[in-house]
Amino acid sequence: MSIVTTEALTKIYKMGDTTINAVDGLDLSIDKGEFLSIMGTSGSGKTTLLHLLGCLDVPTAGKVNIDGVETGDLSGAALASIRREKVGFIFQEYNLLPVLSAVENVELPLRYLKVKPAERRRRALEALEKVGLSDRARNRPSQLSGGEAQRVAIARALVTEPAIVLADEPTGELDTTNTVRIMDLVRDLNRDFQQTFAIVTHDPMVAERTRRIISIRDGKIESDKVVA
């Protein structure tokens, strides 16, 4: 069952007189429970594609359907509600709020879903347990290592049980050991909870740990391989 589909998805940037087709008529279908990577060099359009999939950006043309919702004609507030309910994000730079503790950072998306405080705390602690960081719940981001901070960010993406988790170079700031650890964690989360993941990366070591590798070049799909 497809959880995310795109149809002739196009994003054009205008810079003065030149136009750049960052995403160029792209058709894609992602099934529930998939664990895939989107590979490409910088400037290939992979990050723009991720932003379009996550309703962080609006396409110039084409369609994105997330969990049965056509996103093309939605208002800003409606797109925010898609991001709230159906999408989880993981960023390269973790993007944790420094003034909040780990568990409060994880609670943040639930706050925007208007979940009650006690329920919020319970679900946030549960998500931290899934990423193996229960003992760091009270720590501030500044007291966490890079690997730990990214695991908190993963817990924040998981806490709403979204249809898909989108990750933008999630291991970009990490060393090899932590990269392997994070990828193993994501693989386990995918296997144990059927959580769908799409990971944008330029790192082959990351891509080869996923089960489907989509290569993007000049805003088009160059190859789409399912790995055994």
């Binding site: 925010a80 991001r83 994000f89 993007n95 709020l97 943040l108 925007y112």
Partner: protein
Amino acid sequence: MFKDIKMSQGRELKAGDTDKAVVGSVLATQERSNVGGPITLKGKTYEVAGIMDATLGPTDAWAFVPYQDGLNTFLAANPFIKDVQLVQSITVLPKPGADIEALAGTIQKDIPGVKTTSPVQAEKQISQMTTIFSAIILGIAFIALFVGGLSVINTMIMSVSERRREIGLKKAIGATTSTILREYLGEAAMIGLFAGAVGMLAGLLAISALNRATHANNVVIFAVTSTVILGPVIFATILASLAGLFPALRAARLNPVDALKEE
């Protein structure tokens, strides 16, 4: 002018007194003077003839001495003045029913070298002075308000602009524009409220110190009322909210992708 002041102890000065003084209540307390005891004024020792009732006016800190004693003290302090017939002013007390304005005019016309000030003229002079004084105070207040307001606006713009990335993240994980706006406006209002309260506290401390310093002369310079306390705090809260509104609105409307790119 001072005829109405009653004696709380002793007697008033009378013609022929020398080296005697009538002392105001505050001065008497300060100098620990008793009727019949000594008091030293401008280096000269007098016998206290009487102590006046408290009037809550400036005379409470004054002492009255016989004309000749006062003149001697004055001339000793100002050796360049030779004319011992020096008189600075004479207070005229008209009989009840007299036309004071006409009387003032007559005196000025009939006695050469004398300039009279009638009650109407005196009132005019005082009100002129008060108006100028009020204008100066008001001008200073407006300058302070303007400078303070600008710095509040600047601070709010900076603090929200610095956090565009944070706003981008919040939008990415599902906050709507109005949620962001509410969050940051609420924060701006809280900052304003807190800052206003702290400023008010500092102001109250300064006022109470000033009032204490002038209390000895029975003058209360600053009256503290609920309007004086609440007004500025509410004003600070509203000002900070308004100052936060513009940058918050701009940041909240940002495309999350652009906001996240900010360093």
